[in-house]
Symmetry: C2
Subunit: 484 residues, 2 copies
Amino acid sequence: MAEDKKLVEAITSMDVDFAQWYTDVVKKAELIDYSSVKGCMIIKPAGYAIWENIQRQLDARFKETGVENVYMPMFIPESLLQKEKDHVEGFAPEVAWVTHGGLEPLQERLCVRPTSETLFCDFYKNIVQSYRDLPKVYNQWCSVVRWEKTTRPFLRSREFLWQEGHTAHATAEEAEERTIRMLNLYAQFCEEVLAMPVIKGRKTDKEKFAGAEATYTIEALMHDGKALQSGTSHNFGDGFAKAFGIQYAAKDNSLQYVHQTSWGMSTRLIGGIIMVHGDNSGLKLPPRIAPVQVMIIPIAQHKEGVLDKAAELKSILAGTKAFGEGVRVKLDDSEKTPGWKFSEQEMRGIPVRIEIGPKDIEAGRCVVVRRDTGEKLEVALTDIEAKIPELLAEIQKDMFERAKKHLEEHTCVATSFEEFNRNLDEKPGFIKAMWCGNQDCEDEIKEKTGATSRCMPFEQENVSDYCICCGKPAKKMVLWGRAY
Amino acid sequence: MAEDKKLVEAITSMDVDFAQWYTDVVKKAELIDYSSVKGCMIIKPAGYAIWENIQRQLDARFKETGVENVYMPMFIPESLLQKEKDHVEGFAPEVAWVTHGGLEPLQERLCVRPTSETLFCDFYKNIVQSYRDLPKVYNQWCSVVRWEKTTRPFLRSREFLWQEGHTAHATAEEAEERTIRMLNLYAQFCEEVLAMPVIKGRKTDKEKFAGAEATYTIEALMHDGKALQSGTSHNFGDGFAKAFGIQYAAKDNSLQYVHQTSWGMSTRLIGGIIMVHGDNSGLKLPPRIAPVQVMIIPIAQHKEGVLDKAAELKSILAGTKAFGEGVRVKLDDSEKTPGWKFSEQEMRGIPVRIEIGPKDIEAGRCVVVRRDTGEKLEVALTDIEAKIPELLAEIQKDMFERAKKHLEEHTCVATSFEEFNRNLDEKPGFIKAMWCGNQDCEDEIKEKTGATSRCMPFEQENVSDYCICCGKPAKKMVLWGRAY
């Protein structure tokens, strides 16, 4: 069995070096590969299949709220990018510039979209004339480019996949309603589908999106106590509309500016799944997002009847539903040893393993192993069709509960700067602390502790009366943390 | 009713100016919009929904043959693009070059992928070691960029959406088998789903893909008699493998080069659908690809009970299946006049319209109108659930038959250059004519007639013994035509 251990031994323990553990899992679970293009990753089949599941389920939720998909050009002319002042300042330093088309230099250089607000504004300016044309609730699935200096797979790469929703509304109220609605949709998706609990809140002015009036965020907590901004939803008010001249004739015939929003989630979520759920045996995928939910591994597969029975089991399960869809089941009948197959299935995070060998068949049962707990169950073959969907639902629920408990246990309150600092070092996680509302304090905290304001949670508490930094009267409770 | 006619009057008759008719339909059916980025289009909801249907159905067919999806970087370093000589010569003149990242010039410029053979080769070189790693059957859905001088929506634009499959195999036979298999899959998809008949064949050396050993194609015939190359599948032999050094250890431990293929279809297909099926009232979508299959239009909707009955009809149909999926049905209860709604539904190519008003309800029936023929049927409300799926299947079949008949009627044989020329002018379409195999003749025909060799059809006929151009003994029957 020496060979069987190799795969697990190939990854660093998460307690020894979390960053290295992450990189090892990403590689050994075959989610990505590095490419010849610095800072850009290749998303391999096991990684892309997770993204396909995210896309499909998120897209269905979008469409239920009236979202329509479109596709915009990937290039933005420099003059268009420059139309909204804050926006261009935020993005210009990190865009890739196209200067030549074929053998000729371009008259105006084009940037590869880092985000598409400017393109949508230019579009809306042309297609919105009357209140009858509103609202526009468009979204696109695409890749974007940001020329980052340091990169990490899924978390920060020069190109990544995402969706970006862009909407235009007649009133400020409608825009705010859409902004919050999408944030709630994101939070629900993360919690229900990715089993990843999040804190909803508003970003401080320092942390908000370039050009936004308000940015809302969902913040998740990784296993190492660092925060991951997992989705954002922005209300632009009429700022972009004024910069681009997007006006409509209202019912009373007056000319009004539209109010806009945008919201996005990306392949970064895959990094979140890894760091919230993974362990020293590798990836752990919540069943609702797992490309393969059940892996059947035959024992002594050369013996008569074993592969037949395993295949029969597979077809029974494929015809069964879990979470309203057919169970995603595979049979590993390759030449590898069962032990090697076990550790592969664990590394790849497949939620349930079924072991079936000659003795099991004789006894009319199989062994079912949960990836999340390692628990082994003996299940009668006649019960398997009913048991598996139930078990998948249970695993989904338990994984969420476990992550939720971790988040709660790693969230503490600080009422003094000392306490803040001590907490950060002793039990890394979220810290709830009061803030005066002054950016100087935010800057100072970041400089001295490395922690940033993650958000001003919607659920405010009055944990003390004074700003943790300057001691002046507090305005808001902020959730702080070191972040990816 | 003057207003009702406006939409139809807004498009040029196809008999007057086919190119203008196409542009008008594309705009008035709200498939695309032009953008501020020259040569790049915005795909609007009605257009993108067609692409989503293509993607979903094509992707399912891919996966049945063992295809796995991945995502590769959108940038190709210049040195990588240059590794295969023919390939770089074919693509370098039409790529967009990124020269700056953020504020700094790049050490090596990057092109935005025009196609990703080089990236996949670089990837396979790293992940293929042994025969056990083969085959690799990967695909990606993405956008690509080609810096075209003249562009047309869907048919030729600087950025377009497509899928590109890239495979690596142990043997030449396996690679050829995959190349043909994908071509057949493409042909079946076009005929079954898009109701678009195609001719399968092999490209001449002049027309093959840059770097390929053999290129296979499916060619469709548009309403104006021009050909549209609708999908291609390439066999690279071991040419790229040698250029990139992609070798594997065979069972006998010898080092062998892999054999590769690639194959792609794009948003160009949407242009094909428009030009094969459309008419002077606008778009005509085959039911299997139509984002909305049935539009219910209430008559006198302010009258009591009309909207309720229409909504009831909608929910009945949404719960019914056609082609194995829920019927895609909408109810237009907007404030517009019924006449205006009719012409909108026609312009947008929705296959079936249901009209229902107070008199219909009283009589327990509704009026069902086919978009493809204009035929009106009275259908009892109790029969509608059974009738609609049947009708959609019939429309799908009839649209294919009609397009097939058009293709056959516009395919003729020429045994002399004169006949060839006369046919091209009098009845534009495909011409079957013999060819000696010499590129000089191909060039001469193109120069003198504007027709190119579309393919050497798999179904060869001996229509004469001599080359249509030089009169020397013929080697192949070629399908010729003017093309998009």
